[in-house]
Structure formats: structure tokens, C-alpha cells
Symmetry: C2
């Protein structure tokens, strides 16, 4: 399977497939005489795994660990679980930070009459 087909089947862009190969996240695909990369179903499976992990917000480095655990038949599920929980906590931190910014903005916007007059509590707050 060429990289284009592997990309379509996995949902990972060609650009990122090559990138993952370059940074060592996935092994280099075997090449045909033409130099074209050749992918198997198992490769596509792994790429889909990566895409799913990205969709859950895991960073590339974490995905490296997940891939290692995935292919380790003797893994302890506790390891995967604590990695997931740590990541969930990090996501929560980020979400709360964004939400706090949002609340601040909503509060300020509420205090702003928002008409033609130049007077504006939002700008005043940014000044302090």
C-alpha cells in the first residue's frame, strides 16, 4: 500500500506519516525499488492508534509510551491507566485555565455598556 492509501485508511496525513517516521515514533516503512514507501495493514492499524491518541490530546512523546505498552504483551494495565489519568489531569488543568479566562472576559463584557461611547471596563482592566 502506498502512503496515500495508508493516509486515507488511517486518517493520518502523508505529511505526518513521514514526520512520525523521521522522529522515530514509527519504524521506517520498507521501500519498493522506486523508493516508494510500502505499508501493511498492521502499519495502518498503528497509524490509526496514533490518530486516536492524538484525538484524545496525547502528545507525541506520550504516544510513544502508549505504543510501547500497546505492543508489550506483558504490560500491566495499571501503567496505561496511570498514564491516562495523569493526562486527564493535565487536560483538566488546561480546561480550567481557559474557563477562568472566559469567565473573566464575560464578567468584564457584562460591565461594558458596549455602545458608541469610548468608556470601556475591559480596556481599563487590561491597563492595570
Amino acid at each position: 500500500m502506498n502512503i496515500g492509501a495508508a493516509s486515507k485508511a488511517s486518517g493520518v496525513s502523508q505529511r505526518m506519516i513521514r514526520h512520525y517516521e523521521q522522529i522515530g515514533l514509527i519504524p521506517g516503512a520498507p521501500r519498493r525499488d522506486s523508493g516508494y514507501r510500502d505499508y501493511s495493514e498492521a502499519d495502518v492499524h498503528r497509524l490509526r492508534f496514533i490518530a486516536n491518541a492524538r484525538d484524545l490530546g496525547f502528545a507525541i512523546s506520550e504516544i510513544g509510551t502508549l505504543l510501547a505498552l500497546w505492543s508489550d504483551q506483558n504490560r500491566a494495565s495499571g501503567e496505561v491507566r496511570s498514564l491516562a489519568l495523569a493526562h486527564a489531569e493535565e487536560l483538566g488543568r488546561k480546561a480550567r485555565a481557559l474557563e477562568a479566562m472566559r469567565q473573566t472576559l464575560l464578567t468584564l463584557a457584562q460591565q461594558c455598556h458596549g455602545d458608541e461611547r469610548p468608556d470601556c471596563p475591559i480596556l481599563q482592566r487590561l491597563e492595570d
Copy 2:
């Protein structure tokens, strides 16, 4: 005032002050004979404005608009308000996306016994 003092007074790193100057977010500071940049209180004031806006998650391009509105005595507060509300909505979108990822992970982690056994619903989910 040298850039170091301006940085301390405003909370913006020297690196970022130079960067903001380079991308045109702030005007270039006047130079002494030595080539050192020289900052006024007004400059520090503007830098603090930028730092506050960054803390509220505004992107540089948005801050450019905010700075223009800030220095426009004839601005309509409605403009600032709608910019802030649009940004708040964007923050909400991001926060909700992170929260959804987090919930998915927590649900999966709950279904994972998390012990020495290799069986793990989290990895199974990533496979699909």
C-alpha cells in the same frame, strides 16, 4: 530605562519585548548612543497591557487590534466588547473540547482494572 528594567516593570521578558518590536506590535524603542533601547513609563504601560491581554489568552493579532482601540480616543466600546465576547466563545470551545477528552479518558480509566494484568480497555479503544 533599559530593557531589563522595562522587562521587570512590565512582566514581559526581554526576549518578547524585542520580538514584539520586530513584528511591529509595538514601535521600536529609541536608542542611546550605545545602541541600548530606552523605554519610558508609557512604554512599560503598554507592555503591561500586552501582558494582561496575553494572560487572558488573546493572540498577538488580537492584541494588535486591542492596542489600536486602546489608543483610539474615539473608539466605540461596543467594538472592544464584541472582540472580547468572540474571544470568550473561542476559549469556551477549546475548554469544552479539552473537557470532552478528559471525560472520555476518565470513563475509560474507570473501566480499566489497572493492575498487573495486560488487559486494558484504554488501549482497546485507541485501536478502533
